[in-house]
Amino acid sequence: MNSTPTADQTCEAAVPPAVRKCSYAEAIGQGLAQAMELSDRVCVLGQLVDYKPGVFGTTTGLVEKFGPDRVQDFAVAESAMTAAAIGAAIAGMRPVLIHHRLDFMLYSMDAIVNWLSLWRFKSNNASALPVVIRAIVGKGWGQGPQHSKSLHAWFAHLPGLRVAVPATAFDAKGLLLESIFGEDPAIIIEHRSLFGLSDNVPSRPYRVRYGKAVVRRKGKHVTLVAIGIMVPLALRAAVQLAAQSIDVEVIDLRTVSPLDIDSVCESVAKTGRLVVADPAWCTGSVAAEVIAAVCEREGRNLKANPGRVCLPDSHTPMSSALEEAYYPNEDSIVNRIVTQFQ
């Protein structure tokens, strides 16, 4: 319809023709564009989705291709926006909602909890809501307490939702497509700091399944489970630890609901050690769930007490000096793992 390049076209071509090097943000944009091409039932709702900056580049170019009805700027009314997506899904659409910050979603919690999550259940499986909510989590440059919350533990606690926390561009696109064309509501938590990272991304539309963790690095001595932004930190920590002859198996959970506890248990059965790195407040975190679920099955076989690397139970400070103390880094992971061998 016009000449604005789509995310797909802007990706720089890589060696195998079917795979291109893309950033996490580009991969999401590609996924959205392909979903909208595959089905005219797919629409995008969110503040400012139809302007050039396109939610950190993830919706840039869509309005030119699909028009302002299907790429719909929304008033600052997150509550009605979410309910509208629910209604649109009842009417047969497959809406994708976007929040620049997860924090803004809090206004829509009634729609999410009391309607979205329980619609299928209370209809006795007669009505489904394939609504996708993309929620972005800020970090750094003084995001402060109202632009940085990663509430994936909340959504994982709720029945009736699928919850993904993709850590790579590959997963970001594959989980987005899987969510859009799945039959359940899905919440995708995207850590803003990952948007610039590149990865090999297949050009065609593909799926990444919910409830299937992936081993990002094989190892024998300790199982390090990581979520979202903690995945690259975990891989870096693993390199550091290899130098100390600690062989770390890194598991990326990918989705926190459903949780792939089987894969974690399998790894722990081999390593006998478990550390979970979760970019969320420690108390009541998904990390706690992973540890509890593993201990219920493998607790007696552990060679060391399990451990967590999480954020402190505190709101996020603005000051860069405090941010540094607040966010765990790869050294935090290294240190936690090292104590298991002392």
Partner: protein
């Protein structure tokens, strides 16, 4: 009455304006039968509720508020969508959903509209595009979303949300009004203003008397009327539904009416002292069914024999529905996972490739790079 609100209606006393002039007798007969059926159904449920204690389900009765559901039953086709609040029975029947499925649902049986999972205040009947929910106001915004869906796809359908006036206390209702007006959605918002949120009257909750005036200021067409005159209510709803279907945008209808029973359950809650006997009596004197029957009789459109026969048929249906509900088995499926998430993904299966994960390279630069 020029200005219509709870005060002016009470001051006017017995309503004398119901007119069958120009009305289609067949339509009027259906409106009448619908109201009678709904009334008998609710009365039967109320009678049966406690002595047997078999329902074990919270129920909100709509006795006295039959006109709006009747008008909806006449104006909506199967293709249209209807969203109800907690006081759902009239709306359920308005969409043509079967009484026996409703009764069985209230009894928590497998044969219930939702297999016993939803009960009275969350009942739905997806095959006929009927939905409800116990959380106030939420369904108004969801209805707007459904209207958006049909607008995006140019489908000629109306979406209606029916709710009580306390839904308009909630902010999401006003977000919805704005959104529907902005996009000229094919939506009809029907507010049954019975003045009370449980015990609390409008005057304790809202600063101005009518909701319609506020809705109009938001840029949506709005209509205020005496909600027990089923002929007027039907005309207004029919117009609004037609406007929605034909792309003329949304309408808000404020129908003033009154709940005879207690807020919840079959018992009266008048002992709480939140409303006067005189008020209740005045509204009972303006019973929507009696008002219509008076006009019907005056026109000779309804004989005693006809009514007796009608009641007989209705009562048989009610009896049959009770026996269906009572003899149906309780649900026994307790595979909780299956109830909350789908185990199939037909569309994803069709459209998306399964790609092997081997493509991921843990040593690629970004993973090992610092700085984010």
């Amino acid at each position: 009455m020029t200005i219509i609100n709870h005060q002016t209606i009470l001051e006017a006393g017995r309503y004398r304006e119901l007119s069958l002039n120009g009305a289609d007798p067949v339509v009027v007969a259906r409106l009448h039968r619908f109201m009678l059926r709904l009334r008998r159904c609710e009365e039967a449920l109320a009678r049966e509720y406690h002595p047997a204690d078999e329902m074990r389900c919270p129920v909100h009765f709509c006795i006295g508020q039959e006109a709006v559901p009747a008008a909806l039953s006449e104006s909506l086709t199967q293709d249209d969508y209807l969203f109800s609040h907690h006081r759902s029975h009239g709306y359920f029947l308005a969409k043509g959903a079967p009484m026996r499925a409703m009764f069985a649902e209230i009894y928590g049986k497998e044969t219930g509209a939702n297999g016993g999972k939803a009960g009275s205040q969350d009942i739905s009947y997806a095959a006929l595009n009927f939905f409800s929910g116990a959380i106030l106001a939420g369904a108004t915004a969801i209805a707007a979303g459904a209207a958006l869906g049909f607008q995006l796809r140019n489908e000629r359908r109306a979406v209606v949300a029916g709710f009580g006036e306390s839904a308009t206390d909630e902010g999401i209702f006003w977000e919805t009004v704005n959104y529907a007006a902005l996009r000229r959605l094919p939506l009809v918002l029907v507010c049954e203003n019975n003045n009370y949120s449980v015990f609390s009257p409008m005057s304790k909750r809202q600063a101005v008397e009518t909701v319609s005036d506020k809705v109009a200021a938001f840029g949506m067409k709005s209509v205020t009327l005496f909600g027990n005159d089923v002929i007027k209510v039907h005309a207004a709803i029919a117009d609004a539904v037609e406007a929605a279907r034909s792309g003329k945008g949304p309408t808000f209808i404020e129908a003033y009416t009154y709940r005879w029973s207690g807020h919840y359950g079959p018992e009266s809650d008048d002992l709480v002292g939140y409303r006067s006997q005189a008020e209740l009596d005045a509204w009972k004197a303006n019973c929507p069914i009696a008002l219509l029957e008076e006009a019907l009789t005056a026109q000779d459109w309804l004989s005693t024999a006809q009514k007796t026969e009608m009641l007989h048929a209705i009562d048989s249906e009610i009896e049959e529905s009770f026996s269906f509900a009572k003899t149906s088995p309780f649900p026994r499926d307790v595979d909780w996972a299956q109830m909350n998430l789908s185990n199939r993904s037909p569309l994803a299966d069709k459209l998306l490739m399964d790609i092997d994960l081997d493509v991921f390279d843990e040593n690629q630069t970004f993973v090992q790079a610092k700085g984010y």
